[in-house]
């Protein structure tokens, strides 16, 4: 997870180089927010799936 974020930050930093458009820079930085929310929801969904699959009701 941490290395994935590092990779993404690095890609974004490369894309931002020499760019001056406020709109473009905003959308590039905003990628981090979208990714953060995706990672959170992926983790939650995976945990919920595990929890439901291992429900004691089914033993």
């Amino acid at each position: 997870m941490a290395s994935q974020n590092e990779w993404l930050d690095q890609q974004i930093a490369e894309l931002k180089k020499a760019e001056t458009s406020f709109k473009l820079l905003s959308f590039l930085d905003g990628i981090k927010d979208i990714n953060k929310e995706q990672q959170k929801r992926l983790q939650q969904a995976q945990d919920e799936l595990d929890g439901r699959m291992w429900s004691p009701d089914k033993w």
């Binding site: 490369e14 894309l15 959308f27 990628i31 979208i34 992926l42 799936l49």
Partner: protein, 234 residues
Amino acid sequence: MKTLVLVSHPEYDNSMTEAFLKQCQSDIENVDWVVLDKIQDNFSFDKEQEQKRLAQYDRILFQFPMYWYSAPALMKKYEDDIFTKNFIAFEQEGWLQGKEMGIITTLGDPIKDYQVGGREGFSISELLKPYQAIAQRAQMKFLKPFIISQFAYMTDAQKQKLLIDYRSYLTNDNSDSFNSMQKWYIEQLTALKDSMSADKQARMDIIIDYLQSNYDQLDELKWEIDLIKKEDDE
């Protein structure tokens, strides 16, 4: 989807917020920006012309600074001149039926003041009831309001986020859903890519693919969870 932003601001030409918001949306083809202060004639409006204008759009947004818990007088005058009963009421001609209405309002005070127990004591939702009532009478979908509080104090990072959220409010099918937000964001990045150099385009493609694959994984997990829930219910 076509969006109309109707702006009313007595100090339009001197407003930093309006200048910023105008710039935020200036390149979007399906968004039109109309300033009531510029089209008024002796504090009144051409009814037929404005009714025809409104009929062309799917999403109609009223944008104004909050003046004493309401819109500036010219915005109200626009409503009084254009919104005839026949034009609004769904049981009559109801020209706006099925369209969306939204409010973009700017506050000089912190948003935290606008709630029970806060300094103002009333929420923005309560103060915007007259608009909600018009939307209801017209059988329009009333969107959650878009509130910009204390623009003058915003940092660059906050302004960047404002730009994205504002554009989303104008053009995203459902700004409120993360599912829709992801799809919208990927579309925006894809469009932005065209203005970049070839090597940056390749890099952007990788990021777009990455976000898309996260989206697909999330979708698949939700599908699996829904399946288990359904089995549990049976």
